[in-house]
Amino acid sequence: MTTEVAVRVEDKLFYNRYLVDAGRAHIKVRPHTTPTPQLLSLLKACPARCYELNDKGQVEITADGCVECGTCRVIGEASGDIEWSYPRGGYGVLFKFG
């Protein structure tokens, strides 16, 4: 039980329905050279694993699989690391059960 379990979040997100608002990301990461601790914590805290590190060591977001929970806003908006909004009406995740 103490061993790490390998989880592929992409497989989980695959169950969900989304209507992606192409070209209108609802969350933006402030451009940076070195990420703050807040930004780094999002790599693990985001339940849809939207945050990834690029080859330059900067945190990037791809919000297509976002489930709109608000966790990254609670962690990273106060410090100005991210800008957070809901998607436009009708777009984003569409829960069948919730």
């Binding site: 169950y15 489930v67 962690i75 009708g90 059960f97």
Partner: protein
């Protein structure tokens, strides 16, 4: 700008927003409700246990038509270590009553039905519309909302903020702070589908009877958190949530916790062979009484999760949401009936009525619990579950050790782990926070 003017605009069509819109529309007020989802419910996540009493106050005969899953006859509390669980189960045939007290529901379906009642009562419900900002006059009074539709500004005498836990619009308008990481939990949840008979056999149920399990222990890895397993008709809702501050501190992943919870030897047989059809995540307000923001101001009130009205100890949220939505609507109607303006002073009637209800009374009772559980999370969520499991195993395993030796070894393990002062301190602090 849309020229039409409304008595009230309700932002959000969740439990709180639907209760508020329904109550005002039934009283003949001109209500506009705005929801960003495709339909009411398409963005909403819950366990979900529905408490009948609070819905009955809004729709007395809801049992005849609401999409309900199972009425609950059994509640289990589990304390888990890595391989075992110690359980307290309460089951009673009394719960097979004519008007059961608790049901499981599926939010996307339930909210859609609830919303149909709001429309029937005469409210205008506009979905697929995200409110982007509150419209304020030069003095800061809220006079309406701005939306992402063309000509998106709409005016009303009062805005009911039922926007859910994130409280984005309230924060943007400077009416409140953003929720803090130590005051909200992130929960992840999956829907596991199985044939009806399989669920009934595994949970020992007949017909529409249901059982629910709440679990704490090593599954949250020392973080303040809880798991849940709820039986629906043809699926099982399973999830786990922990404080965002704890995720931030420990670097644990939410889906990693969920996976380990599913693999726990007490849990795995319940969902074996199931087909997962959805993965969802949502925040839960857990700061309790001390985290409640301003409840009203000039031209606005805030209800439900947006007001952080959630009782984490009893896992009640939707009922506080429905009740606060209804009470806010009744207060607004009273102010309107007197032809008084929707000022902060007049709308304070909502705050007063809410304080007289179970909502604020319950949250006040547990006001010290969130901080206690957060500060002592290692003890309450890791050390004690392990100790209790060890003690139980020591008690039931028959291996020729004299009982007296067994008892003193159990006692020793508690004292070694927490010391006498630690044990008494924890008991005292817990009792005081519960009182």
């Amino acid at each position: 700008m849309i020229e039409e003017r409304f008595d009230a605009i309700v932002v959000g069509a969740g439990m709180a927003g639907n209760a508020a819109a329904l109550t005002m529309a039934k009283r003949g007020m001109k209500v506009l409700q705005l929801e960003r989802g495709e339909y009411s419910g398409s963005k909403n996540v819950q366990g979900a246990i529905l408490y009948a009493d609070m819905l009955e106050k809004l729709i007395p005969d809801f049992r005849e038509e609401a999409p309900l899953e199972r009425h609950l006859v059994e509640q289990r509390f589990w304390m888990l270590d890595d391989k075992s669980h110690v359980g307290l189960h309460y089951r009673s045939d009394d719960f097979n009553e004519e008007k059961p007290n608790r049901y499981t529901i599926i939010r996307a379906q339930f909210d859609k039905w609830f919303s149909s009642k709001v429309k029937e009562a005469g409210a205008t419900v506009l979905c697929e519309t995200t409110v982007t900002e509150l419209a304020q006059d030069a003095y800061g009074k809220v006079i309406g909302v701005k939306t992402d539709r063309r000509d998106g500004e709409i005016h009303a005498d009062v805005v009911v903020l039922a926007e859910g836990v994130n409280g984005l619009l309230g924060t943007r308008a400077g009416l409140r702070e953003r929720p803090k990481p130590e005051n909200v939990a992130l929960a992840v949840k999956e829907m596991h589908f199985l044939p009806r008979e399989t669920i009934e056999a595994r949970f020992n149920l007949k017909g529409d009877e249901g059982a629910v399990i709440e679990a704490v222990g090593t599954i949250s890895r020392g973080m303040t958190g809880m798991g849940f397993i709820y039986s629906n008709k043809e699926c099982i809702s399973l999830g786990i949530g922990c404080l965002v501050a704890d995720f931030q501190k420990t670097g644990e992943t939410p889906y990693g916790l969920l996976e380990r919870f599913k693999q726990h030897p007490s849990v795995a047989p319940l969902i074996e062979g199931s087909e997962v059809k959805e993965y969802a995540a949502h925040l839960i307000p857990e700061g309790g009484y001390n985290a409640i923001p301003q409840l009203c101001g000039d031209g606005w009130v805030v209800v439900g999760d947006a007001a952080q009205l959630n009782n984490a100890v009893h896992r009640e949220g939707s009922n506080l949401a429905m009740t606060s939505g209804r009470i806010a609507a009744e207060a607004i109607f009273q102010v309107k009936s007197r032809r008084d303006p929707m000022t902060k002073e007049n709308l304070a009637l909502y705050k007063k009525m809410l304080e007289d209800s179970f909502v604020i009374k319950d949250l006040k009772k547990y006001k010290d619990m969130p901080a206690l559980l957060h500060n002592q999370s290692q003890n309450f969520f890791l050390t004690y579950p392990q100790l209790v499991s060890k003690a139980m195993q020591n008690f039931v395993r028959v291996d020729g050790t004299p009982k007296k030796e067994k008892e003193s070894s159990t006692l020793r393990s508690f004292v070694n782990a927490r010391s006498w002062t630690g044990l008494f301190g924890d008991a005292f602090r817990f009792a005081r926070a519960w009182r």
